[in-house]
Amino acid sequence: MQYQTQNIAKTYWLGALLIFAVQVSFGLVGGLIYIAPNLLPVEYFPFNMVRMIHTNALIVWLLLGFFGAAYYLIPEESEREIWSPKLAYVQFAIFFLGGLSAVVGYLFHIYADNARSYLEQPVWIKLGIIVAALIFLLNISMTVLQGRKTAITNVLLLGLWGIAIFFLFSLYNPANTSEDKMFWWYVVHLWVEGTWELVMASVLAFLMLKITGVDREVIEKWLYIIIATALFSGILGTGHHYYWIGAPGYWQWIGSIFSSLEVVPFFGMMIFCFAMVWKGRRDHPNKAAMIWSLGCSVLAFFGAGVWGFLHTLHGINFYTHGTQVTAAHGHLAFYGAYVCLNLAIMTYAFPYLFNRAPYNQVLNIASFWITSAGVVFMTVSLTFAGALGTHLERVQGMSYMDAQDQIGLFYLLRFGGGVVTVLGALLFISSLLLMPRTKTVVTGAIPAAAE
Amino acid sequence: MSVTTSRLTRAFILLITLSLVLAVAADAHASAFWLVVVVLAAALKTRIVLARYLGLDAAPAALTGFFAVTFLVLALVAGSILVFPTPQQPLRAENHSSSQH
């Protein structure tokens, strides 16, 4: 760690990890309700509340992770301290308490009068999020503007500004449901398949720069190619959400064409990561961080790219829309692209933040395989549930609940995958908190800050 | 720049000539023969634009790649027209009515 203010990231990431634990636990509760609907009293654990906590906690901790990543990597990239550490902590307090009180409030059925999926936060919490985002952007922009400008900070900043700007659409909720849905996707799609991808690409580029030691030149050119293909396809790719919501039929063409190209940037990221590791001259001691980074690119390619493409063409989506196929895609895409990314940068940075490099990475590496195996197993189970459910309900004409009864086995398997995922997640968290020092120094491992 | 002015001008003249061929084909009666003529002429035009206008003469691999894409698209569309031809009889009958508006 070269800059004092990189320490800010520690606070953000510890907060993120706490909410990560909440998120996966409630995921498990949701999976349990699927297989044992009478076990938990519906007055206290209605499924909608459980799902709300699961999804909102996910968004909150991923964003906390992104903020942490920004506070960690921007000083190194800009070659100066964060403009105002005090503001950074104020922002953390607002965002973390807002996110936490939203989640706790849901337990008592306190959510927005005009809630929409992912946007259930009461208005005052939404406003808090916006205030926190403004503080963050001010702080980060001032740091970047005064320091060295690199492609990584440029892209990261663009992504973070985009996240804040598109969140403003969460405040717009027209009475016409179809119009409402159209602008709801301005937040949700343009986040996860637009601005978040910019953050992902720039953080991955930073990790590759540090871990592999490949020239900045090479990495930044890759970065531009990846984000260019991401936005050229992703913006009009939004059309794949406009097929059946009351919007014009031409979206079926626009959505199918552009979103089938959304695979390209994810493929590019995967090739990029492997090519960099292959070319890399540096034998970085933090193998765990490298595994998380490579795993991120591979699982994002499959989850966001391949599983997305599976049902993005309008002829297929006509049948699979609104089935568990979407849930399968959602789980692997969020995990691969954004969860792994956050865990990768944390794994990379924690030894520096806690001054423990090198450390014993066995637990951390094990948690990668366990968590990923769990999520992949969940995804496969849900894909079968979705494909079979689609056939029974949408092709054979069985009623919804009858079809659901036929696919109960896959929900049981999904729950099993969920248990493994939660164990993996807890293992990851404890591996970072314990971070045992290794007794034997690996040859070639240099316990100095990278670069 | 590898392409000289005279080569460029020849490319341009060839392109316009091919366009005239296409225009003739357009007025000719729809048939498999004219379909193939249209595809070949159009493909040749894309190749000239790629090689001379875009200067991909200097990058043969890229020329082959980009040309393959445009040719493949044209060929696939033409192929599907041959596999799923337009029914002839009703077309003629309705042609007159549709040309009136």
Partner: protein, 193 residues
């Protein structure tokens, strides 16, 4: 850029296979993306047509083929002028570069005018983007192409102001791509039946 440019030279080799291409490599990423988009759209057209060849043939017949041929000639000539501008830029003659680019842009503008009249005629005949699968695809693809012509005109304007060798090379590469796409779109929609 400022201090960020610790990297002194952007050696072309660092862009890998893209560095052999004229103009800025990232422009070629854009060009390749566009070709993919239009390629997929035209394959989609073939699929949609296969489900109802008769309706497609009838509606194809109602297009104004003469306007299409005229527009092809306009774009090809404009492309020729753009290529001449590129030559002038390589010779270091900024004035000639700008003149050729202006000529190319004028014909591009002519393309848009002709296309505008065509659209007006089609709207007057009661066709629009919702009216049938053929016209949905027709308006989407040709409209998207026409927007590329607009973008191309803006780009030609920008590189005309700079009039440097690589800027013109980059800008005209995009313009030729617009030309190239029309050469595929035009026969598919107007001629192949």
């Amino acid at each position: 850029m400022n201090a960020a440019t610790t990297q002194t030279a952007d050696a072309p080799a660092e862009w890998g296979p893209l560095s052999a291409l004229p103009g800025h490599p990232l422009m070629w990423v854009l060009i390749a993306s566009e070709l993919a988009v239009f390629g997929l759209a035209l394959l989609g057209y073939a699929g949609a047509r296969a489900q109802n060849p008769l309706a497609f043939a009838l509606e194809q017949d109602s297009l104004n083929r003469l306007a299409g041929v005229a527009n092809t000639a306009l774009l090809l000539t404009s492309g020729y002028f753009a290529a001449r501008a590129n030559q002038a830029a390589h010779a270091g003659d900024a004035t000639r570069t700008r003149l050729w680019l202006a000529a190319a842009s004028a014909l591009g503008l002519g393309f848009l005018v002709v296309k505008g009249f065509e659209y007006a005629g089609e709207f007057a005949a009661g066709h629009d983007i919702d009216s049938s699968p053929f016209f949905t695809l027709y308006f989407l693809v040709t409209g998207f192409h026409a927007l590329h012509v607009v973008l191309g005109l803006i780009i030609l304007g920008i590189v005309g102001r700079l009039a440097t060798k690589t800027a013109v090379e980059t800008g005209t590469a995009f313009w030729h791509m617009v030309d190239l796409i029309w050469l595929v779109v035009f026969p598919v929609f107007y001629l192949m039946r």
